[in-house]
Amino acid sequence: MSPTYDVLIIGSGASGGMAAYTLAQKGVNCLMLDAGPEVDFTRDRSLKRVYDLPYRGFGRPGQFPHVTQASEFTANVWADEKQNPYTYDPNDPYYWVRIRLVGGKSLFWGRASWRLSDYEFKCKDHDDFGDNWPIGYSDLAPYYDRVEPLFRVSGRKEGLPQLPDGVFIEDNSVDSESVKRFVKSCAAVGIPTTKGRRATGQFASSVNLLLPDALASGNLTLVSNAVVRNITVDRNTGLVNGANFVDRRSKREMHAKARVVMVGASCLESTRLLLNSGIANSSGVLGHYLFDEFYVKNIVQAIVPELRNGSGRHGVIRGGGYIPRFRNLKTREKNFIRGYAVDFGSGGTPDPTYFPLYGEALQKEVNACKEAGFEMTAMGEVLPRFENHVRIDPNVQDAFGIPALHIQARYSDNEHAMARDAMDTLDERCRAAGFEVLVKHSQMVPPGESIHELGTCRMGDDPKTSVLNKWNQSHDVKNLFVVDGSSFVSGGSQNPTLTILALSMRSSEYVAAQLRSGNL
């Protein structure tokens, strides 16, 4: 007879990994199920020349219509879209980017690590749109304080209320001259800048920072290739008691038992699982309030003119930085609410397709601009709106017979206005810094492409308008917790992983305490 675990954790990425890390070290006996196989970093990757790949680096046409991040080098790490289908209205494409491996997306994330502030947690108080979170910054700050050293986050303290400082490996590196000029250009109009804040180290993933300690405690059993079909419910108590899953390789149907279930399968997979289980939705909002962060990639591509023709002096290029949100902090300044952030970088050669040239003239211009580029990407807040949602598509199932998601998401006028403002503002700042603007645009990537999907299982104090309470605990089923980005009420313009990690740690400590006191 199989054991009954204290906690079943579904998913092994940032949120599931942090749950296992926290619970197992507190003596809680955990079972973790992940839908994918484990990665063997020695066996599963090797160096290859691009011309030795079957498609010369282009990739097999049509293999990943929604994963612009995929290359022929990385094609085997992304979830197969045919095995794992989803649907959307053709007029509203959604790019759902997934990885099904032990460690999840934490294996390949960009590592940007920003705290949210009360401009996000208490957003409704600032502009009367949407809803506040059931927690404030002060509730999460102690957990941010512990996650940052664990992930070895580097950064520079600035004292900005919209971007709280953290426990950083101090980044006191000297900016290159081109970065200094851009920073000065921004400061002249009151736009703040800072260094990037990133998890450092050779590798910064659940599989090297979280799961090893959990396993070493002896309190974690990790099972890979376990595709969870649904969470099971004890009909007598109404409490969840485990999950049905299918072994990915053999298709064998299995059931695992636990006293508590914590779901961290990634934002939309977690909500899909709850919808397919028919639980935690007395409010009717499960699946609703889907949002992410929009990206305008290479919103401005500029040239540092003194670097043309390789004439730049040492120290003029390299490095970069970050513009935190600066719009609508104290007053309503523009024709949109909320704000956007910007990543900027110095160096690199502009893409040849930007130049309206070909042949020798093109090559001459590309050579002239070699390593003279200055580029930036804007990342803006997408408003959480009820009508952007996911639901089960009754006509489509995945390779395991599990009903697939239909995703309905569309940007509003607010996001479009924000993107245009970002383009105009950054164009102006580049010119003020003395750069040549090569191209600019305000075209947002399709919803989902930023891989920052959030919401659909949101927290709140009111069980009628939210799915989870302030501990990421289901209002309806007290031994069910959802600890990933689906729990977000709003997201700001900051990358969400650091907040997901902090929320999961906080919720997991609550679960451990409740188990100890016999409340779960």
Partner: protein, 179 residues
Amino acid sequence: MSGAEQQPATPKAARAPIDETPTLQIATTDSAAETVEHYFSESQFQVLERLSDIIAPPISGVPGALAAGVPAFLDFLTSQSSAHIQNLYRDGLDALNHQAQSRFKTDFKGTTASQADEILAPLRKPWTYEAPAEPLQAFLVLAKGQILQGTVNSREWISVVSKRDRRASGLGTYWHTID
């Protein structure tokens, strides 16, 4: 046999004992054979060759698109692409021939450099994020990007340029099937 055993004149690579699992040295297809073009018609392929040479000519000893085998590669790639891309290519290549005939009474392959420049005027319009609405311009923008990428990703281009620039090695971390 009398006397000492005869040894081979040139020692071969050490052979693994027959009871070990061998790792055989396998050549890539491109290094041993040529693509058999089959997708584009002969006239379309000739236009693609001329266009490739115009967009990415050999410069200062660096191989261009023709030496990199780009037309044959794009014939293969397009054959596996979506109907939208296939139509864009076929119609675009036909359009270049049509324009050459109507303007200069020759096919695109036979145009002079200045005549080809006139026909390729859409390529000198400013870059836009969205693909251009006009089909010929959309084709030319797509083809330009693919011809350039096909060239710089080729063995021929990399083997020359990597000797001058270590960043042009074409090396990347390849992920095998994980199971």
